[in-house]
């Protein structure tokens, strides 16, 4: 019995190191948190629209096609960097992309989109950050993929890169 007790420190140590090794090996980002909303329905919200007079009602969107939701702002540099991919998702892939303008100024956003191109079918304004909180957003840009039944299937935190663009591409094809 004593013999076996003496082996316990080694076994515990071994197991812990195994966990560390595993975590090092997999591709993980220690600062990215998985979304709590995956598999849930889109949060219900209403907001002012950027270019239209009518209000934006979430219950009226997300009902019959795959939709991307992109949280962005003109003051956010990574948002500018990823914009080209958002355009590609909207133009080349023909996806419906809804933009949510986070803590921004309408005139600035208008100018920004005019200059860089507007991929969004609709834009909701989130001045106080409450819509972002409803979506569990903690750092923009963040992009969600919602299926045709209004279920959130995927979330990416941070700017869309070539790699993520491909991922979304594959995902959307799978959903169709």
């Amino acid at each position: 019995m004593q013999r076996h007790i003496l082996k316990i420190p080694f076994i515990v140590f071994f197991l812990i190191l195994l966990v560390f090794f595993y975590l090092l090996m997999i591709d993980r980002n220690p600062s990215k948190i998985p979304s709590a909303l995956l598999g849930s329905k889109v949060p219900n919200f209403e907001a002012n629209s950027l270019f239209k007079k009518d209000k934006f009602y979430s219950s009226q969107e997300f009902t019959n096609e795959i939709t991307l939701v992109n949280f962005f702002a003109t003051w956010c540099k990574p948002c500018k960097d990823e914009h080209v991919y958002i355009l590609r998702l909207s133009d080349e892939m023909g996806l419906n992309v809804i933009g949510i303008n986070y803590k921004d100024k309408a005139e600035k956003t208008t100018k920004w989109l005019k200059k860089l191109g507007n991929p969004y079918s609709k834009i909701a304004i989130d001045n106080n950050g409450q819509i972002a909180i409803d979506w569990g957003v903690y750092g923009i840009p963040e992009t969600f993929v919602v299926n045709s039944e209004g279920i959130i299937k995927y979330k990416h935190v941070g700017p869309i890169t070539k790699k993520i663009y491909k991922e979304i591409n594959l995902l959307v094809r799978g959903l169709q």
Partner: protein
């Protein structure tokens, strides 16, 4: 060129370590000794020179060296140019190796004509550890890497790191947890060789454990002190993973220190001590892994790099597997059937040990649990301050109670009436002190009472011991007294803190405790490398006398574009008055954060007293060896 010289010195140090490692401990004692002498001194000299070379390069702003470029700047004050050397990953690895080499040197000094094989084996283990770290440094974290073309100036610096406490905090910490390497090496040598009862290996181990523990204590305390005055809300411990990484070796070190006493007196618990010595150092190395591998984020982590992580993990695995398998197979011969009665000094020390281990295991569990969950379920959770407060504090309470009693008890079993007689004076004094305390500080809260009683319990026990000359270990009495003072400070500042957050325009006033604070004026101030907005707050006591002017500042450092906020603190034995200037302007006024922190200074005094006690014990223990 500095870089070439630096690399040569690093490779030289590697060479000497390799020499020490392959130097056989089994045969020809005199030759072994001579070769080790060369290796030990050569290693120390080369790494010391390398270290000074890096310091020199920083001081003269040699921007051909990447490390200098990344971490220094011509306008940095010279003190911080020097401390900047170990404030970055590569430089700190050099410090790691230096401390290993210094302890290596002192291990060598243990040689006498009876223990040559044993010390040679110890040096072999220490050499292995040193090789591991030098190889890591040369190949993944080389501070002497060049940059070409060399830029005009460095990449600035973080003004938050330019601070005296922060400057000295790393070297002290490193003497701490790197110092446990010596205990590790002695333990492995003890397990490997069959020296049960033939050599007092525990006598060799004790001064090293004392040195490591003592400096780790003050190192941790300085980190907390810095956090207290720098971070702006009077907090000083956050259960951040990297703080935990220094706390765990400290806990094991405390257990190790105390059980070494039992081994000395009773030759009991030898196997346990051997295991603890291994675990304390392994935890230090695992801590290094956690901080530098990118596996966690924390305010302390260095630049994230998985390849470094893999190396450190592999090396940790090597050290750990070898030592723990060795323990599993060889420790049996160090067991004896000495069991302790509950009511005895050794019983009290055993209880202390168990509590330290429980706290350490809990802190370890809390620190790695998010990683475990992530590996198994792909979900992420947080384990923060509330968890540690609910688990660690309740466990520490009985530990502290026992800590008061332990030194008063004698070796061997005593009956309950003897013990009651012995501790009665302390119970009496504790009660008196507590009553006096609460008649002055009239705020009674359950946890506050518990904390104060515990603090006075420790203090009065040690006063009794000192007065009655029960125990001749002066260092221990001082250190334990220090713990009592520490608990006093922790309790006061946690339980009875008063916080006021208000908007103030100039000429506004606010009362806190019995003080009146008047916001007199706001002005611009120019510092050596910053511009500041300073608020002047007059502090009046209840008799309308002015006590001090508090001057919190908001600073802007043009070179990096950093903003910092500097709290202004007025300290006395009873409380700190702590003020932070927030956002604002002349029309609307400023956000002002005001804190009344009772008894905070006793935390720092307590830590200093613990440190002094440790140094006294260290001196006495070294004398014993000679």
């Amino acid at each position: 060129m500095a870089s070439t010289l630096g690399n040569i010195l690093l490779w030289l140090s590697l060479l000497f370590s390799v020499l020490q490692f392959f130097n056989s401990y089994k045969k020809d004692n005199q030759n072994t000794l001579k070769i080790n002498k060369i290796a030990v001194n050569g290693l120390l000299a080369s790494i010391l020179l390398a270290f000074f070379l890096l310091i020199y390069s920083h001081v003269i702003s040699d921007f051909t060296i990447l490390n200098v470029v990344q971490n220094s700047h011509t306008t940095k004050p010279i003190l911080y140019k020097i401390s900047g050397v170990w404030g970055n990953h590569e430089g700190s690895m050099l410090l790691w190796i230096l401390v290993l080499a210094v302890f290596n040197y002192f291990l060598f000094k243990l040689y006498n004509n009876k223990n040559t094989i044993f010390i040679s084996k110890t040096l072999e283990v220490q050499a292995f550890i040193t090789i591991g770290f030098i190889v890591f440094t040369i190949f993944t974290s080389n501070p002497f890497e060049v940059i070409f073309p060399s830029p005009e100036n460095g990449l600035g610096f973080n003004p938050v790191l330019q601070d005296p406490a922060l400057a000295i905090h790393p070297p002290l910490l490193y003497i701490g947890y790197v110092g446990f390497s010596a205990a590790f090496s002695i333990s492995v040598a003890t397990l490997k060789l069959n020296i049960v009862n033939s050599l007092p290996w525990y006598n060799y181990m004790k001064p090293f454990v004392l040195a490591a523990w003592t400096f780790l204590s003050i190192g941790i305390a300085l980190g907390s002190l810095w956090a207290y005055y720098e971070l702006g809300w009077g907090g000083w411990w956050f259960w951040d993973p990297v703080e935990n990484a220094s706390f765990m070796p400290w806990l094991l070190g405390t257990a190790l220190l105390h059980s070494l006493i039992i081994v000395e007196k009773r030759q009991s618990l030898q196997a346990w001590v051997l295991l603890l010595a291994i675990l304390a150092f392994l935890l230090s190395v695992v801590g290094t892994f956690l901080v530098r591998s990118g596996i966690l984020t924390s305010v302390h982590t260095f630049a994230l790099d998985p390849s470094r992580g893999i190396y450190i993990l592999a090396f940790t695995a090597l050290l750990g597997f070898y030592s723990l398998i060795l323990f599993g197979s060889n420790s049996k011969k160090y067991f004896n059937n000495n069991y302790f009665a509950f009511f005895s000094k050794e019983g009290a020390i055993l209880i202390n040990n168990i509590f330290m281990i429980i706290v350490c295991s809990t802190v370890f569990l809390g620190t790695i649990y998010p990683l475990l969950i992530e590996a198994i379920t792909n979900n992420k959770i947080s384990v923060g301050e509330p968890y540690y407060n609910s688990t660690v504090i309740p466990i520490l309470i009985p530990a502290i109670l026992v800590m008061g009693v332990g030194p008063i008890l004698s070796w061997g079993k005593q009956n309950k009436s003897e013990i009651t007689k012995k501790i009665f004076p302390s119970i009496f004094i504790t009660t008196i002190f507590t009553i006096i305390f609460f008649s002055i500080y009239r705020l009674i809260s359950p946890i506050g009472v518990v904390g104060i009683v515990l603090a006075f319990w420790i203090i009065s026990n040690n006063l009794v011991i000192f007065y009655k000359k029960i125990n001749r270990s002066f260092g221990m009495i001082i250190s334990h007294l220090g713990v009592g003072l520490l608990i006093l400070g922790i309790t006061g500042s946690s339980v009875w803190q008063i916080e006021k957050i208000i908007n103030m325009k100039t000429d506004a006033e606010i009362n806190i405790n019995k003080y009146k604070i008047v916001f007199d004026s706001i002005e611009e101030v120019k510092g050596p490398n910053y511009l500041a907005l300073r608020g002047n707050f007059l502090v009046y006591d209840k008799n309308k006398n002015i006590i001090t002017i508090l001057k919190p500042e908001n600073r802007f450092y043009p070179i990096t574009g950093n903003f910092t906020s500097e709290a202004s603190i007025h300290t006395n034995m009873l409380r700190d008055l702590y003020i932070v200037l927030g956002d604002g302007n002349l029309q609307k006024g400023w956000t002002v954060r005001l804190y009344y922190n009772p008894l905070v200074v006793w935390i720092w005094i307590g830590a200093l007293v613990i440190f002094l006690g440790g140094l006294i014990s260290l001196k006495n223990n070294i004398k014993k060896l000679a």
